[in-house]
Assembly symmetry: C2
Homo-oligomer: 208 residues x 2
Amino acid sequence: MKSYGQRCPVSRALDVVGDRWALLVLRELELGPKRYTDLLDGLPGVGTNVLSARLRDLESAGIVTKRTLPPPTPVTVYEATEAGRALRPVLQALRDWGEEYGRPIAHNDAIRASWMLTPLARRKGALPSGRVYELRVGDEVFEVRGARDGLSIAGGQADHPDAVVELGLGDLHALTSGSATPRDVRRRADIDGDDEAADQLLRALAPV
Amino acid sequence: MKSYGQRCPVSRALDVVGDRWALLVLRELELGPKRYTDLLDGLPGVGTNVLSARLRDLESAGIVTKRTLPPPTPVTVYEATEAGRALRPVLQALRDWGEEYGRPIAHNDAIRASWMLTPLARRKGALPSGRVYELRVGDEVFEVRGARDGLSIAGGQADHPDAVVELGLGDLHALTSGSATPRDVRRRADIDGDDEAADQLLRALAPV
DNA sequence: CCGCATCCCCAAAGATACTG
DNA sequence: CAGTATCTTTGGGGATGCGG
């Protein structure tokens, strides 16, 4: 994109992340590194050329790094750098504003589990510290951990989780939006491991 | 712009304010209502057609309102609505990020006094409550007020200011960036009214 | 399959001239 | 002053192709 050419920190920020899809790429990387195709799936509507261009831009701006994981599965993943993680307050401010004043929800909007889970990260005291859970929604898998300052969520499988909970996209949406209780969802969820832990996880996903 | 079509508050926010120039229009309205031509001047590089399109978009999105001031000078001004003012945290987060990670400053960047002053608004306890100042930089005029929770800045002339301080763009930049002291700037400033008040104002503009 | 690059087309932005 | 009209240029959406 062309620079605004203004000596103003707002416009200088937008010179870097003001391009279409740019901030949404960062949103996708909030829960950890992702592969190109997973980014494509998390950004429905983006063209493959646009995504690769945006990743190149963000990489040369020092906001994203491309890393190749070691064998035996040499996949390349994209990851937010320090500067990229520093955009979290921007994303959070946009999220807060969008909830209240953004475009109204349309019934054919695309939807992803990670979009519902990201705002729950760093929620205070929702889960016992040290507990590890695996949450599966559709083909998305997340590791949820209880930490002393709240809960953390990352994309990918969990190591030795206390419980594995699998539920549908609709159930997750109902749960996080408050239109269903943890108890409601529990009956339709597929639970593996400690039942008590699974209950903790479901309660942690419901609004306070 | 085309909607992202995603049920995510971040993208739903960007559906409304993600267009080029949109957030910068809100930046220009942070210090109060502005006329079309003043917006043009505060947004160097924007085309007249693009600005009018953006204002129309933002108005129909309920973020900006167009108001015609009563006679004898029937000028039309644009003003941020409640939803527009609610974008302040977004602008502030972008400002913070841009300071540290944004595009580096170029020597031919355009520059405006208001871009330097906006981040100073609502600064805590910088000026005695109730005091009123007028600050003139080039052809931009601002009203600065001491309030109990900090200082407030608005565009336009002040009513019965305790002091009127006029200084150059370079001096303001030097002052707010810390490369010049209030004492340095004072000698080159044009001061009208209470000298003590003028000193207060200059000190309030310098970094803590 | 994954990770793009290329191509074509259209919509939006840039630039400038002009008007009520 | 406050825009509209017009033209050019750029960037994004969509499809396809292609090497590893």
